[in-house]
Amino acid sequence: MERLRSLMDIFNGDGNADRVVPPSGFTARLTSFTAASMAFLAVFALALSLATGRLAARWDAELARTSTIRISAPEGQMAAQSEAVLEVLRTTPGISSARVMSDAEQRKLLEPWFGPDLPLDTLPVPRLIEVLEEGRGPDAAGLKLRLAADAPGAVLDDHTRWRRPLVNAAMRLRILGVVSMLLIAGSTAAMITLAAQSALAANGQVISVLRLIGARDVYIARAFVRRFTLRALIGACVGTGLAIIGVLFMPAAAEEGAFLTGLGFKGWHWILPLLIPPLAACVAFWATRWAAFRTLSRLS
């Protein structure tokens, strides 16, 4: 209960406890600057984490819904095998639609590597069939067996080998974002602890006088805790505000799904950065309280 009361005192205020600690401009600015910087970084780490999460989900969903069948066959058999594949797909559960990609579409796919003037008709380029899935998709193993029987030149690519590393990479980036936020919280706590210890050491005379007149440790600690918590809260509000403005000016997610676009918040995710200042204040509260009681116990 006493801890809860201490937390409430932060906001209720105690004019006398506040005034016993002399104003210390440098430490105040240092604490606020640290909190602002850390909040700024935390917002970007949060944005990165959420964006990579969204990217992973999008890649996973988009690639999971489609697959490709590649047909490599002599020129004379290409049309027949394509027709056989389409027939197999028509009778396979979990397939929404399938269509043979046109030469123009295939040229467009190859254009980034071979340029716009690729003579597609003179090259032995495999024919591609785009398959859109529905529900839980087809049974890939069964489909492969049927394709092998009816169209020996057809190879099913369900994108698993592309999807898995991409999704894994995105998920790892997300974990990195979360770890970064934890490190930021830890660093904030460490820096505020050091600043609080420094402030306590610099106010040895204040502590000595307060003890002489019968102040309990909780009274002395409260004065420091309130000051550092409010500084951290104000600093974190400024840092979070600036970071949110920065995020607003980030480029929106490109249609192509480029990785460095779409680094921001969407929908209810905008609430999350607003939690950073109160969390910073909580970190400052516990860090200063711990530092204060530790220092005071050593001074006795």
Binding site: N16, A17, L212, G214, R216, L296, S300
Partner: protein, 246 residues
């Protein structure tokens, strides 16, 4: 004169049992850096008593006062304050006990960023007794120690004598049961010294227990003519009862 009324404590439920002995030392000793500063100290301060502590400079008077308000712990023997063994006290216990002891140090310390008036009121704020604080009370106290005009000054602006008077005012604002003063008249002129002593005598007549460390024998003689004061002398680390030569 304003001092907090101890009866208000009772109304708040803060009851102080009537102790038979406020300070009790039993074979208490204190050694620092291998040097025995105090040894085999046996002393009892009864409520309402007035004691002087004398002895040459460096004899251990300040150390004995420090033992009485738990700024130091004895290295040997036992010290009991308000009938509690100081070794068994938590820091919160010590804080509570110190609210019943007014201490006037040789080198008085204040919160330098607060005015004299705010420093005087600080013990009340620290103990959560802000409701006992009225500006006129602090003004009365300032007038009593001759600092009416200096209430808004900051402690670093005060002279040595003014600091001692302010420290005395701060020490008594809580109406403590026990007042420990270390050379309280060391930096003031004779007239002010007599005024301060008159103040302490008046407090003693109100039932407060006083222990003053001083080497000023004239001061002791002045007080002994007004109240029954015992004089203790520290000599060769030991406590003796003096008196015959005063």
């Amino acid at each position: 004169m304003f001092v907090c009324d101890a009866r208000k404590d009772e109304k708040r439920g803060v009851k102080h049992e009537a102790e038979k002995t406020l300070i009790e030392l039993k074979n208490a000793g204190f050694t620092y850096g291998g040097r025995e500063i105090l040894s085999e100290m046996t002393l009892q301060l009864q409520p309402g008593s007035f004691h002087f502590l004398t002895g040459p400079s460096g004899s251990g008077k300040t150390t004995l006062l420090n033992l009485c308000y738990q700024a130091l712990l004895p290295t040997t023997g036992m010290v009991r304050v308000f009938e509690q063994d100081v070794r068994a006290m938590t820091r919160d216990d010590i804080a509570r006990v110190r609210r019943r002891i007014g201490v006037v140090h040789q080198n008085c310390q204040f919160l330098d960023h607060l005015s004299v008036r705010e420093n005087l009121a600080l013990p009340l704020a620290v103990s959560g007794r802000d409701d006992d604080l009225h500006p006129s009370n602090v003004d009365d106290l300032l007038g009593w120690v001759g600092l009416t005009e200096r209430g808004d000054a900051l402690p670093p602006e005060l002279s040595g004598g003014e600091r001692q008077r302010a420290a005395l005012a701060r020490a008594i604002i809580m109406s403590p049961d026990l007042i420990l003063a270390d050379e309280p008249t060391g930096n003031v002129d004779w007239e002010m010294a007599q005024r301060l002593l008159a103040l302490l005598v008046e407090l003693n007549k109100m039932g407060k227990t006083i222990l003053i460390a001083t080497h000023d024998l004239n001061l002791i003689r002045t007080v002994k003519s007004e109240v029954s004061a015992r004089v203790l002398r520290i000599s060769n680390s030991k406590l003796q009862l003096a008196g015959a030569d005063l």
